[in-house]
Amino acid sequence: MQALTNRVKAVERKPMSFFERMYLVAIFKGMFITFMHIFKKKPTINYPEKKRPFSPVFRGLQVLNRDAEGRENCTACGLCAVACPAEAITMEAAERKEGEGHLYREEKYAAKYEINMLRCIFCGLCEEACPKDAIYLSETFTPADYQRKQFIYNKEDLLIPHPVEEPEAYKKALGNKAKKEIIN
């Protein structure tokens, strides 16, 4: 039969000699390789104690952003939901009443906002669609859980900590994004 490529190698079918059949050389060769790995740099890290830096383009769990005064950026415009290819995002809007100006930045806000993390594929299109810089994908994984219902994230789960009341948690949640803002 004609070979399909010119890279075919004929396998040697010669029976092994007695010395080869004892495998002693081969075993010591292998053991030597194993031994040499003791002196090599470990590629693994102790995960929860040590964490690798995320790539700047990493797309993790969504965050609903607040502005510098701690008001919610989201206006429930629905662009993230219409951009979402997995149809994971749903929301319901409400009108800001008088006296709620410190809570919401615009006159309309998301009363309910939900992301179904079972559906989300972390494509980042919601972040791209958002005209208000309200949603972005952070540098955290979605935590594992035992129940499916725990993966329906509502607004309280997604909102970033208040920048005035909890500045440290806010900065941590912002992650690399904060650095990007400083550069700009």
Binding site: E92, A93, E106, K112, N116, Q147, Q150
Partner: protein, 386 residues
């Protein structure tokens, strides 16, 4: 009537058409249809005297007529210029027109706020479409945008004066459709604003039509305000027997599930109110604002939506739900769900009827909207207890 009216031959963007004398260039172009039709923000064929204000429909007249083939020196507003025999018009084939239109759009957007994420008109806004086609990415305007004091013009209509482009369409509606005109334009020039004199409430039977007529989000439906985005609602054609004189009773319902979120008049391909038996199909306020139940209406079928429109993004293909076959195949038992999303999700709660709330929803309308599932989302990324 033995006299045969001679038809005028017009050429618009190299397409020749015969039209009746007295037709405007814009209407002649609309008879051809497609891309050669100039956009119009203020002209509304069903409103007498409209047009000539926004200048978006500017066209170049390359030859005035067969008798006088000289070109017109300036770009003409096609909604106000009537055709002559042998006229040659350039719209999209003229660079001058495109350039002028870009400038007009920039002028219209000078004072227009970037409200689209909040605005209920988004998705069916003419200025949005125009901005997409002709707009610049940024603004060159360095001064503060024109602002107005907020004014309440009644329980049905929400006025956002900052969004207004002063097309005067709504004042023509008030003039021509209602017997008692209560709103109009106050002040002049940059201060001009749509208002009801001394904030009189609009209580005419047909005042709601100014919502349909408004090309931007300046006049929007208060009963629909913030309830949903247009592209998440399902438009269906429906009709009812309306006793109000002059109301055609044919409307488009914008549904969410089986809830009627909004009622509008039916629109034609130019986004104007459709004509029935030669009469524009205006609808009365009772149909528009009060009949918010599917049982009030006889549903005819899905509204055809232009496939380029974002409203087509809602993927509704049919009125009937597809037949559920799982039960049949599984010998009579329901599919075993690992999780029923409706037990967990707080959005679209069956106990909350947004369509029955009169104005925009408030946080209190969502209170007691179902129990939040115990422990859901407890393991947040910041490890904080709720």
């Amino acid at each position: 009537m033995s006299e045969v009216t001679k038809l005028f031959k017009v050429t618009i963007d190299n397409i020749t058409i015969d039209v009746a004398p007295g037709t405007t260039i814009l209407n002649a172009a609309r008879q051809i249809g497609g891309d050669v039709t100039p956009p119009a923000m203020c002209y509304y064929s069903k409103l007498e005297g409209s047009g000539g204000k926004c200048r978006t429909c500017l066209v170049e007249v390359a030859a005035g007529s067969t008798a006088d083939p000289r070109p017109m020196p300036k770009l003409m507003a096609s909604c106000r210029t009537t055709v002559m025999d042998g006229m040659v018009v350039k719209n999209i084939t003229s660079e001058k027109v495109t350039d002028a239109r870009n400038g007009v759009v920039e002028f219209l957007l000078i004072n227009h706020p970037l409200d689209c994420p909040i605005c209920d008109q988004a998705g069916e806004c003419h200025l949005q479409d125009l901005g997409y086609d002709h707009g610049k990415e940024g603004t060159r305007y360095e001064f503060a945008r024109r602002t107005f004091e907020k004014e309440d013009i009644g329980p049905y209509i929400q006025l956002h004066m900052t969004r207004c482009i002063l097309c005067y369409r709504c004042t023509y509606v008030a003039d021509q459709l209602t017997d008692k005109r209560v709103h109009g334009i106050l002040d002049r020039g940059d201060h001009a604003e749509i208002s009801t004199y001394i904030s009189k409430a609009i209580d005419n039977d047909f005042s709601g039509n100014m919502i349909d007529v408004c090309p931007v989000g300046a006049l929007t439906d208060k009963t629909f305000r913030f309830k949903n985005r247009v592209w998440f609602t399902k438009p269906v054609d429906a009709h009812r027997d309306c006793e109000t004189k002059g109301c055609c009773g044919k409307a488009t319902l914008w549904l969410r599930g089986n809830e009627v979120y909004r009622v509008t008049a039916r629109k034609d391909e130019w986004d104007e109110v459709q004509s029935f038996d030669g009469k524009p199909g205006w609808i009365c306020n009772a149909c528009r604002f009060d009949k918010k139940k599917t049982s009030d209406w006889v549903v005819e079928g899905l509204t055809t939506i232009n496939r380029h429109s974002v409203i087509g993004a809602n993927k509704y293909k049919a009125l009937q739900m597809p037949k559920e076959t799982v039960k049949e195949v599984m010998g009579g038992r329901d599919p075993k769900l690992l999780m029923n999303i409706h037990n967990v999700s707080e959005v679209n709660n069956p106990a909350v009827h947004l369509s029955e709330i009169e104005g925009p929803a408030q946080m209190s309308d969502f209170k007691n909207s179902g129990e939040h599932v115990e422990g859901a989302g407890e393991s947040t990324q910041w490890g904080m207890k709720k």
